[in-house]
């Protein structure tokens, strides 16, 4: 008898495909939140596996802060074009004007927090009842507690104390009008799992994930990509470094890491050796307080 054995990546893939199809089966107006980062790129590949030769039962939705890496934006447009899938882009800039919001100022100014406003506007505009996202539980301690189907109220808020029990592979997507569900198909993947999957599937990534020379501003021992969007104090210096990005988010809150990793294999080797966690190395927004992520999620963040 043949040995029927499913490798861990196949198991993770099967679980994620199942979750995506539950979204397609349970909701009327789902969306896939696409950031141009490796996790959402992985989601897109999983959606291909779940729904081809059919079309995706949801559009790709990008909430653009206007401060994204141009490489990530170019990748996004090219990908949507190649797949023939619908891409919806909504700009934080427009929300700021429309809602007369105040842009954060100072050293740590970032539109990352304002994304929530645009996301909620977009959900309302299209009537999205489920938003698929690429968050993983290994990223952060609040995320470690979040369900795969995470119900948000009409203000997009997460209430960690009122989470629905989630048993076996049965997902409860019943919601009232106005509520929506955030769905995280790669909850059980780690950073390394994502990279190993990208390698196995031979997925092309934006080149900023690999080593390149870049002008950086040093802030709190982190290297921020130098751009017009970054606040610069007179004493701040801009230096050139050989870097890559371990996460790709908004330029104002995503730091680079010094690296010579030029391909997927060398990136994987580097992550295995790394002493610092993914978000710890690269995210400015989590460092602001011990419960920064929990607080943002309660406020409607991804």
């Amino acid at each position: 008898m043949t040995k029927r054995y499913l490798d861990y990546l196949d198991q993770l893939e099967a679980e994620a495909i199942h979750i995506m199809r539950e979204v397609a089966g349970q909701f009327e107006k789902p969306a896939l939140l696409f950031s141009g980062g490796k996790d959402s790129i992985t989601l897109v590949r999983l959606a291909e596996k779940a729904f081809r030769p059919g079309k995706f039962p949801f559009p790709l939705v990008h909430i653009d802060t206007g401060h994204n890496f141009p490489e990530a934006i170019a990748y996004r447009d090219e990908l949507a074009e190649r797949l023939g899938e619908k891409l919806v882009v909504r700009n934080v800039e427009d929300t700021i004007k429309r809602q007369n919001l105040t842009e954060p100022k100072g050293k740590y100014a970032s539109r990352n927090g304002l994304q929530t406003y645009t996301l909620l506007e977009t959900i309302e505009e299209f009537g999205f009842d489920a938003c698929i996202g690429g968050a993983r539980r290994d990223e952060e301690k609040a995320r470690a507690k979040e369900r795969i189907f995470s119900v948000r109220d009409e203000f997009g808020q997460w209430d960690p104390k009122l989470q629905r029990p989630e048993l076996w592979n049965i997902y409860n997507g019943h919601i009232h009008k106005g509520e929506n569900v955030r769905v995280f198909p790669i909850s059980n993947w780690t950073e390394l799992d994502v990279w190993n999957y990208i390698k196995r599937e031979e997925i092309a990534l934006p080149n900023i994930y690999f080593t390149h020379e870049r002008e950086c501003l040093v802030r709190d021992n982190k290297l921020m990509a130098w751009s017009d969007f970054i606040h610069k104090d007179p004493e701040d210096v801009v230096i050139k470094r050989q870097v890559r990005f371990r996460t790709v988010g908004d330029m104002t809150c995503t730091a680079a890491v010094e690296s010579v990793a030029f391909d997927i294999d060398s990136v994987i080797a580097e992550i295995i050796e790394s002493k610092i966690s993914e978000r710890g190395a690269t995210r400015i927004d989590d460092k602001l307080s011990e419960t920064a992520m929990e607080d943002r999620k309660k406020g409607g963040y991804f």
Binding site: R21, A50, R52, P53, K145, P165, N169, N188, T190
Partner: protein, 425 residues
């Protein structure tokens, strides 16, 4: 490399979080910045070392109160396996959270304090693990350092536990003497307990066989979604997308579509547009049939050779998860894999005392965290297996019709023959 999903239930006093912290720390899964964050919080354990338990308690309320309330998922891997830990609370008032964490686990780690021996909590965690069909139990007799690493203490506890475990359904029980705080027998074999010849905890976790836990006998394929591209190239294409929750499917297999009873033959099994030789649990695939039959979400493809009849009435063990008590006659929504139905709880037969595994009769209502045996009637015919025969096809959830929250988790214990039900309609 495969995956082992295991649960650890308990409270901080048992050393549960220390044990997980130790596993993560000794397998180098804790990053410097995470350790630094704990150091900054300034909490030390009784020996004045950094409190590893803080790694697992993620919510503000949990950190403030020093307790685990909800299930947290933690990840680590060795060269042999990827591990997913469901870190669940252990107090009786959080039974539903433990049930949640146990539902997806293949193995349960039960901690016993060497100074205290088998306690009510030990029994409760073992019983819940057993009710949820977890095939492998690991009994870690912890804090061995506090009893002088004494073999006699260990042997006495093993003996006591074995006596109690006769009532359990567990297929495989492993005993390991450990000190989570000092790291004895967690990753490395302890040098303080030469009398113990078994594996360390991590060695055991790496080698316990889990692939045989999957049911490959009874083929069940619930359809989640129908793929219809409507393009010129795939004009008449109909692909049934779903997950093989048990069994094996391949081209040429004769299948029955339940509940309609239509029959057809598998034309192809695919994943990502590529043809597969066969699909087996737990793969997510697309199945195409030779005939144009009417199939939609919620239908199940079973193989003709092991056909299973649908039922609308069955008995189940139910963990009640709502603050509002459950009473006989309650109307609820039921979800079983991809099938939804309205359901009524016709009868509450007995409650299970989870501290002793004894039945309590004469129950008129069921409170939060209670486990009871109920008889349920559904509006839609369901294709159910007994939970103990097929774990992935015997579980269901109950959902409140108004709040839409999940209020119950059920495990089918017996299905009722439809022909004997005529008197009820």
């Amino acid at each position: 490399m495969d995956i082992l999903r295991f649960i650890t239930a308990g409270s901080v006093d048992d050393g549960k979080s220390t044990l997980i912290g130790r596993l993560l720390y000794d397998t180098k899964q804790i990053f410097a910045d995470q350790l630094e964050a704990i150091e900054q919080s300034g909490r030390l354990n009784e020996s004045g070392e950094v409190d590893l338990s803080l790694l697992t308690d993620g919510l503000k309320a949990e950190r403030e109160q020093g307790i685990t309330i909800d299930v947290a998922y933690k990840y680590f891997n060795t060269e042999k396996r990827k591990f997913i830990i469901a870190d669940a609370p252990g107090h009786i008032q959080y039974t539903r959270n433990m049930v949640t964490g146990a539902s997806n686990s293949n193995l349960s780690i039960i901690l016993v304090d060497a100074r205290k021996g088998v306690q009510e909590q030990t029994r409760r965690h073992s019983i819940i693990s057993s009710l949820l069909g977890i095939p492998h139990l690991v009994i870690c007799i912890n804090k061995m350092d506090l009893v002088g690493f004494d073999e006699a203490v260990y042997n006495k506890i093993v003996e006591d536990y074995k006596l109690f475990a006769q009532k359990l359904n567990a297929k495989d029980i492993q005993f390991i003497p450990v000190s989570a705080l000092k790291g004895d027998n967690i990753v490395e074999k302890s040098t303080a307990m030469d009398w113990y010849s078994g594996p360390s905890l991590l060695e055991h976790l790496e080698q316990v066989p889990v692939s045989s836990d999957i049911n490959l006998e009874n083929a069940r394929f619930p359809v989640q979604y129908v793929i219809r591209p409507h393009t010129t190239e795939y004009h008449d294409y109909r692909g049934y997308a779903g997950k093989v929750i048990s069994g094996v499917y391949k081209k040429g297999d004769k299948v029955v579509v339940q509940p309609s009873g239509q029959t057809s033959t598998i034309k192809s099994v695919q994943l990502g547009g590529k043809e597969l030789e066969e699909a087996f649990a737990p793969m997510s695939v697309v199945v195409q049939l030779e005939d144009a039959v009417d199939i939609s979400r919620g239908d199940v493809l079973v193989k003709q050779e092991d056909e299973l009849e649908t039922t609308q009435e069955f008995e189940a063990l139910l963990c009640w998860m709502a603050t509002k008590p459950l009473k006989p006659g309650a109307k609820l929504l039921l979800r079983h894999n991809s099938t939804d139905s309205r359901a009524v709880v016709r009868e509450i037969m007995y409650k299970v005392d989870v501290n002793a595994l004894e039945d309590v009769q004469d129950v008129d209502q069921v409170q939060l965290n209670d486990i009871c045996c109920v008889r349920i009637r559904t509006a839609t015919p369901l294709l159910l297996d007994k939970y103990e025969d097929n774990r992935s096809n015997g579980g269901f959830i109950l959902v409140d019709e108004i709040s839409f929250t999940t209020v119950g988790a059920g495990m089918v214990t017996s299905t009722v023959d439809e022909s004997k039900l005529s008197y009820m309609i």
